[in-house]
């Protein structure tokens, strides 16, 4: 038995971590936030070259056909870097395209793998489509509720602005006749996969924020001592660490349930999003309180991680929504 990604997946995650610290550090993030496009030039291509964008794509289409458990380390790094790129949306969308197969898959998947096409998906509750303004292809339900693959120029995309400068949200409408109906796709499974992928990102975000706060607490002096020596600071950070340390295995188990399409897949996915959201929100609050004034500024990096925490908490189902889905599974059984 093993409740952690395999060694090669961990290694791959480490390499992506290196790549991102290289091409997507906080400075690069700031540029992206100030840029109307909201993305870091070149990073998408680097992710493609690294093989990240083909992870969920079967080999016949040029990908590596990995399952969700192998994706976890990469997704944690995407979170740790607060990366403003549509990784989750594209990976989940690619999986759906592969399930649909046929022409649409042959047309699009190689381009996805090559980093030439971004995919956005609308699954589960809610009307907002994350990454839609960036997407070349949208997988969204038509008026009849059938999931369709819609090229961006055929869709009506109404973008809205989030406080998180590293995401792009929109509502998407599919005019009658537009797009291509997707058959043979597992929409609910895809939603659960997205939920777990986001939860993995959240644990990465939480790790990053706790690390930032610890670093600051080790250097900031008040009352003649570094504030990290005060119990009030220590205990807040310890609690934030513990919350995230216990969310991680829940996320890992959920990835396994998704990969195995286990009967508890949806319950486990919701548990993961709930636990990871609680942990990330706690890490954000704690990190801000430890940084105090400086953390409240736009100049300091922390706010980009906090705001990503806010968006990921609000999208793909809130923690209340997921807790209720767990309750349904556990209490109504």
């Amino acid at each position: 038995m093993r409740l952690a990604p395999d060694a090669d997946a961990l290694e791959f995650g480490a390499s992506v971590r290196e790549l991102l610290s290289d091409v997507a550090d906080a400075a690069a993030l700031r540029v992206a936030w100030d840029d109307p496009a909201g993305r870091i030039p070149g990073v998408w291509q680097r992710l493609a070259e690294a093989g990240v964008l083909g992870l969920t794509v079967p080999e016949e289409y040029g990908g590596s056909g990995a399952d969700l458990t192998s994706l976890l380390p990469v997704l944690v790094e995407v979170g740790r870097a607060a990366l403003p790129e549509p990784v989750v949306e594209t990976l989940v969308g690619a999986k759906l395209l592969a399930e649909a197969g046929g022409e649409v898959a042959e047309d699009w998947l190689p381009r996805v793998v090559a980093g030439e096409a971004v995919v956005a998906v609308q699954l589960g509750p809610g009307d907002l489509v994350s990454a839609a303004p960036w997407a070349d292809l949208l997988l969204v339900p038509d008026h009849a509720g059938v999931l369709c693959a819609v090229p961006r120029d055929e869709a009506v995309i109404v973008a809205t602005t989030s406080v998180d400068g590293g995401v792009r949200l929109a509502t998407v409408d599919v005019p009658g006749g537009a797009g291509y109906a997707l058959g043979g796709v597992h929409i609910d499974a895809a939603f659960d996969a997205a939920v777990v992928a986001v939860a993995a990102q959240q644990t990465g975000l939480a790790e990053a924020m706790v690390a930032m706060a610890v670093g600051y607490a080790k250097t900031r002096e008040q009352f003649g001592a570094v504030i990290g020596s005060f119990q009030a600071i220590k205990h807040q950070l310890a609690d934030a660490y513990v919350a995230n340390a216990f969310a991680a295995p829940v996320v890992a188990r959920a990835a396994w349930s998704v990969a195995q399409d286990s009967p508890t897949r949806s319950r486990d996915a919701s548990h993961a999003k709930y636990a990871a959201t609680v942990a990330a929100q706690r890490a954000a609050r704690t990190a801000l309180q430890v940084h105090a004034g400086i953390g409240y500024t736009f100049e300091h990096d922390l706010h980009m991680w906090m705001k990503r925490t806010w968006t990921l908490s609000s999208l793909w189902g809130t923690k209340d929504w997921h807790r209720e889905r767990v309750a349904q599974a556990v209490l109504e059984r």
Partner: protein, 391 residues
């Protein structure tokens, strides 16, 4: 016990409500963090001043109504209940003015109070420094003596150093703050309280963008800025004592009036009602938290009322202000978290007419546990001064 509102108080409430109903801008003013918005807020203050609603607790001779604590609480309830603008002058009228009334010379009162009340002169605070946040007493900005000339004129001080987290400073006209006037002094001793024009030579204001991206506060650099003796508030070297009057009121009753939270709680109740129609699940999950937020706002209102009545009864208000700050800052964050939970996927949409204001409010609430003494410091104060635990 008697909680019936006296007739005069009820009449005062009615008058305030009436005036606010007919004068509060129908559409929100532009953000205080923009030049245009700042100007618009100055105009609003002037309009209130002209109607003698700007500084109700001040003496009539300075444009006030000699209103007592209860009238003040009532006015604040009506003010925030009416959805009126934030107070651009609040540093001055709520924090500095009480200190001027207590320690200011007649000349200083004449010089500063009226322009302050009219918002012709908006004040910024000069407490924190990069190295002195929670530990304010470690501040290092200094004031060097400039002797008077033979004629006895020209005496004053040269200020050098840096202040930070100075709210409103980007567009403000003056700053009040503490500087170390005795170079050999340490901690709370040897500090002097100065009033400084931000237009003076040697003053540099660097805006700091806060969480929401707006320049809500600033760093202020002093490069041997001359200030005449007339701009010393209270005695030289008495700065800490003088400042405590302000920071006490800051942490005490006047920092966060209950009316604000009752108004927010009522908006939360409205949000719950609309959410129940659009997203019953989200409303059901939040129901308990909404009730709790409303109860906490009500509890805060009652606690402040009780404290005010004690004060009117001659009892002194001490570390209540720390308990106060802990309670309102936590209830404010929780109240907004509950709203964002109900807003679901819309929670971060800053342009959304419903979500936007809640998001702003949340960001603002996050400053509560930090400024005016972090909540960690406040818990120490409660533990040591109220419960008598050892330092």
């Amino acid at each position: 016990m008697d909680l019936t509102e006296p007739a005069e108080l009820a009449a005062f409430r009615g008058e305030a409500r009436e005036w606010l109903r007919s004068h509060v801008p129908g559409t929100p003013l532009p953000s205080l963090d923009t030049e245009a918005g700042f100007a618009a807020h100055r105009e609003w203050e002037l309009e209130m001043y002209d109607a003698r609603w700007g500084v109700v607790t001040w003496p009539a001779q300075y444009g006030g109504r000699d209103a007592g604590l209860l009238e003040w609480l009532v006015f604040e309830e009506e003010y925030w209940g009416a959805g009126a603008p934030v107070r651009v002058s609040q540093n001055g009228i709520f924090l500095l003015a009480p200190t001027i009334f207590e320690y200011g010379t007649d000349a200083q009162k004449e010089r500063f109070l009226t322009p302050m009340a009219k918002a012709e002169e908006v004040w910024a605070q000069g407490w924190s420094e990069p190295g002195a946040g929670s530990d304010l007493a470690s501040l290092r900005s200094k004031a060097e003596r400039v002797p008077a000339d033979a004629s006895g004129a020209g005496g004053g001080w040269r200020l050098s150093g840096q202040k930070t987290w100075s709210t409103r400073a980007v567009f403000a006209d003056w700053m009040f703050g503490l500087f170390r006037s005795d170079p050999d002094s340490e901690r709370h001793r040897g500090l002097t309280y100065f009033l400084v024009p931000l237009s003076a030579d040697g003053v540099t204001v660097r805006p700091i963008r806060q969480l929401d991206g707006e320049p809500g506060f600033a760093e202020v650099f002093f490069d041997s800025v001359f200030v005449p003796d007339e701009h010393v508030l209270g005695g030289v070297g008495e700065g800490w004592k003088v400042a405590m009057a302000t920071t006490t009121s800051e942490r005490g009753l006047t920092l966060r009036s209950p009316g604000r939270f009752m108004a927010a709680a009522d908006r939360l109740v409205e949000l719950y009602a609309t959410t129940r129609a659009t997203d019953p699940g989200a409303a059901a999950a939040a129901r308990g938290d909404v009730a709790q937020a409303w109860m906490d706002a009500d509890a805060y209102r009652l606690y402040v009322l009780g404290t005010a009545l004690k004060a009117l009864g001659g009892e002194s208000i001490g570390a209540e202000s720390s308990a106060n700050k802990l309670f309102w800052s936590q209830l404010d964050v929780a109240l907004h978290e509950t709203a964002l939970a109900m807003l679901g996927e819309r929670a971060t949409l800053e342009a959304d007419p419903v979500a936007g204001p809640w998001l702003d409010g949340y960001e603002f609430s996050l400053a509560g546990p930090i400024y005016a003494g972090t909540n960690e410091v406040q818990r120490n104060v409660v533990a040591e001064r109220v419960l008598g635990l050892p330092r």
